[in-house]
Symmetry: C2
Subunit: 256 residues, 2 copies
């Protein structure tokens, strides 16, 4: 009998110095137990997966020594981002990663932060599992996107996550106005992310290009003690600026 | 000093007979502890909130007797769905609910299932809190939408949740084709939900109106022992049908 591919959530403190949260703040106890018993992993990054499993081990001893676990890294996505519709060659590489499932082992898919297969290349592995009829099971854990959406107070009955915006200024401005128009027309909250050191630049671009009455929400360092969410109109943000930290992850949301 | 509005996740077994999951399967231990100490609640439904708090109490004794807790129900949303842009009268009703925060109490916002303020009217309360500069903090917990998205293997780098589809057949068919075209153009996964007894009707409408090569994923009863996710092309779904249960919640996703 084939194993199950478990989608294992990770914490949201990736890359943040001096601010490790307890696993108990973000992961359910049974999810921690599942992490402790899984012996085969597919990971965005093997090193951070080992760090995660050390934290698991401190709560529930791992079923095998950390060094004896199999941790395979996901193939690097093609430039421009991977989608489940990439070519057949790429599909073969993902398929090969699923060998432990066919041998009857359960596997864990894990990313560097939050839920795997969301805002990361892991969806390709899940798609490969479905193509073979293998069982996939998502586990409960922190999603910075949905925590930010809830904390924003913007429309949670219709929303979209659009990933990163273009970096080039003219294209970025155009994309911001396009998202604002779409949001206003559909009353659909638009969520986006940015590399932390560019947080301030993204905030400035949003404030420069959005209309004064558009609602803008920023959530920073969610699940951490220093975490915060601010929601206000663009006019209010301009009148009373907030400086973005350059080393903390943030989620930006707007409703036109 | 004002209190904090905590967004308290609920389990995903609302209304499902004989299938209560352990809180430990979906909620982090520290979140359960937070639920046990909060004395003022704003709830989609007071009765189900009391049932939730009884489950919390069995793990961590509540700081006060259940009967002495303040549980206020959210105002019913106006027909057609509430958004944070509703009129001033409506805003006053929401503002009144926040009185405990101004008095220095922490408050919990909770819905009947999953994360509050997402796919439910709670966002109005969060918006009212921001309007007064009150602190809002989202907690980690299960989101059937993002668990379904992850388990689907469809694009998790760009996705939208569009709520319910129209019920009338012609409008529904039109909306399905519109979402498929949008999804194909943007490579954006489109997620939707339905009232459980209409799950089969929605699946049939999707299979009747989508193109054969479009990918369709259905996740049912997520976080429960009988939970499952199936992702396949519309052609494959048609060739090998799955009958939808009529009493279990489901999330439908498509990628054109």
């Amino acid at each position: 009998m084939s194993g199950t591919l478990f989608l294992m959530p990770n914490t949201l403190d990736f890359g943040i110095a001096d601010a490790e949260v307890s696993l108990h703040a973000v992961l359910p106890l049974e999810v921690i137990h599942t992490a402790a018993r899984i012996t085969h992993w597919a990971a965005e990054n093997a090193k951070t997966t080992r760090a995660f499993l050390k934290r698991v081990d401190a709560i529930t001893p791992l079923s095998q020594a950390l060094q004896s676990l199999q941790i395979a890294e996901l193939p690097r996505p093609p430039k421009g981002g991977a989608t489940p519709k990439d070519g057949a060659g790429q599909q073969q590489a993902w398929k090969a990663l699923l060998a432990p499932l066919r041998q009857g082992h359960d596997m864990g898919l894990i990313s560097e932060a939050g839920l795997p297969a969301i805002a990361d290349p892991g969806a390709m592995l899940v798609a490969a599992a479905h193509a073979e009829g293998l069982r996939v099971q998502a586990l409960s854990g922190p999603s910075s996107l949905l925590m930010a959406l809830g904390a924003s107070g913007l429309n949670g009955q219709s929303f979209a996550f659009v990933g990163y915006l273009p970096i080039e200024a003219t294209e970025r401005a155009k994309r911001i106005r396009e998202l604002e128009a779409l949001s206003a027309k559909q009353q659909q909250t638009q969520l986006m992310i940015e590399t932390p050191y560019r947080n301030e630049a993204l905030l400035q671009a949003l404030l420069a290009n959005l209309r004064p009455q558009t609602q803008l929400s920023v959530s920073c360092a969610l699940s951490l003690p220093q975490g915060w969410t601010r929601t206000a109109s663009v006019a209010q943000w301009r009148a009373s600026p907030t400086t973005m930290p350059d080393k903390l992850p943030a989620v930006f949301s707007l409703l036109g």
